[in-house]
């Protein structure tokens, strides 16, 4: 981070809060730095009617992982940070498998531990830099979408209740965010999130902001095995005795 950036970040925060202490300034700087690095990286979930799509615009290859019952989409400021996030997710999965069982690796488990790790990376002193990675966890079994920001803040959306809207992660560059929001709103107004339309949108932003990588996919493409009911569901009391 250049001295100019540091100066600007501290000044911006000072304008809002007076008496910024050294520790707090460090925290703000870490946040500011992560936001700056994630400025042109974004992950979007958009839903119109029954149609739903994920769109990732980034400088680096995003990661999409299928964990059986849910999948995670994450993008980051650099490939090394995406790699670190992949490692953490693997570690969480491994620990759960070790102590409990693979069946107990739920989306809420991933959400809980990832959120704690990211929060720690911002707030703890052992971390020199925040981990500039943001996650979307899509769980079709519980019909829920979790989003986790780089600072550990998370939100959960019930997919069934989300109607004609989009959920945006990253894009801390205000200009990009404004333009994206405008274009996505236009898509919602026209009820058009066809593949062609989204590709058009993707190409426009990739060209304008010089983004190298993008991903566009439907969550339905990632298969989740159906529950295999083996036992009868007749209550024992109703059985003729």
């Amino acid at each position: 981070m250049s001295p100019k950036t540091v100066k600007r970040a501290v000044a911006a925060k000072k304008r809002r809060k007076s008496g910024l202490s050294g520790m707090l300034a460090e925290l703000y700087l870490k946040e500011y730095d992560a936001q700056r690095r994630l400025g042109n990286n974004t992950c979007i979930f958009i839903k119109v009617g029954d149609q739903q799509r994920f769109l990732v615009l980034s400088d680096n290859p995003p990661e999409v992982q299928n964990h059986g019952r849910f999948f995670t989409v994450f993008m980051g400021a650099s490939t090394s940070e995406i790699g670190e996030a992949t490692d953490i997710l693997g570690e969480i999965k491994g620990s759960i498998n070790d102590v409990y069982s693979p069946q107990d690796f739920h989306s809420t488990v991933a959400l809980y531990f990832l959120s704690r790790y990211l929060k720690g990376a911002v707030e703890e002193f052992w971390s020199q830099r925040a981990l500039a990675v943001e996650f979307m966890i899509f769980d079709p079994v519980f019909e829920v979408l979790h989003t986790i920001k780089f600072n550990g803040d998370y939100e959960s959306y019930a997919i069934g209740e989300v109607k004609d809207t989009f959920i945006l992660l990253g894009a801390y560059n205000p200009k990009l965010r404004r333009e994206l929001a405008k274009d996505l709103q236009a898509c919602l107004d026209n009820a058009d999130i066809s593949k062609e339309k989204m590709k058009e949108l993707r190409d426009k932003f990739c060209q304008k902001y010089n983004l190298q990588v993008s991903a566009l996919f439907e969550p339905e493409l990632i298969r989740v095995p159906a529950s295999n009911v083996k036992v009868s569901a007749v209550p024992p009391d109703k059985e003729a005795s």
Binding site: V99, S101, Q103, D104, N228, S232, A233, E239, S241
Partner: protein
């Protein structure tokens, strides 16, 4: 002299429960597992019959009602089947305090997991946790005398499962499981119905009769198992739609009476 000082130092760092006898610490400072063999012997002398098996709607768990201490009967009203989670149950044979501690630890694990992540632990998860719990204690020389059976449901895929877990931490999944001093006789009885248990054709009534019969056969020969004529066994079922629930004692009593009448007619009992 140096060894004595070393042993004393080790003694102060190892919990009291790890030191079952004066010879607990070997010359090399590692716990002596001879004491664990003694523990095993004690368990074989103590009495219980517990069993679990699959039936049409899920899993049935049953246990006798007797708690013994050497040659004395301490209670004829003990309920050995206990609920762990909404869809899981646990039973144990061995030392009561150890078994209760293990059961409480399992309950806490499930409760914490549910509170933190909003979903209950799967049965595989519980069995693995239990196995690790016992294994860690065993490796530290703390022999928990609890031979457990844990049964219930996994959620994805939805399936009923039965695990028997031993104090050293080994866990075995099976279609039926028995343990305790009367476990062998109960197992013989269940073995006769292996085909029916495996194909999940036993309905609740048939399964209840089989459970009562298995406990009855164990109690007939085993000193540590209560006689079903004196103490009605405790029986519980775990089903996919209703979870863990005890079968009402009246219903078990009816099954017991039918069994005893049949035995009388056949001239097997006085």
């Amino acid at each position: 002299m140096r060894r004595e000082i070393f042993e004393e130092a080790l003694r102060s760092t190892i919990p009291e429960s790890a030191l079952l006898s004066e010879t607990a610490i070997k010359a090399n400072g590692r716990p002596n597992f001879e004491n664990q063999k003694e523990g095993y012997k004690t368990l074989l002398d103590s009495g219980t019959t517990i069993l679990a098996f699959h039936f049409k709607h899920g899993v049935m768990l049953a246990g006798d009602r007797q708690t013994s201490s050497w040659f004395s009967i301490m209670s004829q009203e003990t309920v050995k089947v206990s609920q762990i989670g909404l869809y899981s149950g646990f039973m144990f044979a061995g030392m009561v305090s150890d078994g209760q501690a293990v059961a409480e630890s399992l309950r806490r694990a499930d409760r914490d997991f549910r509170n933190r992540f909003g979903v209950p632990l799967s049965l595989d998860g519980m069995a693995n946790y239990l196995s690790r719990f016992l294994r860690i204690h065993y490796n530290h020389g703390i022999f928990l005398e609890a031979w457990g059976i844990i049964a219930g449901f996994n959620f994805n895929p939805l399936e009923s499962k039965i695990y028997s877990v031993e104090p050293a931490g080994s866990k075995t999944a099976s279609i039926f499981a028995t343990t305790g001093s009367g476990g062998d006789r109960a197992e013989d009885e269940l073995e006769r119905f292996r085909g029916k248990i495996k194909t999940l054709v036993l309905d609740t009534k048939e399964a209840l009769e089989l459970a009562v019969r298995a406990v009855y056969m164990a109690g007939k020969k085993d000193m540590g198992t209560s006689d079903v004529r004196l103490a009605v066994p405790s029986v519980a079922v775990i089903t996919a739609d209703r979870g863990f629930e005890f079968i009402k004692p009246d219903r078990v009593k009816e099954a017991r009476d039918r069994l005893v009448d049949q035995e009388r007619r056949d001239g097997n009992v006085a």
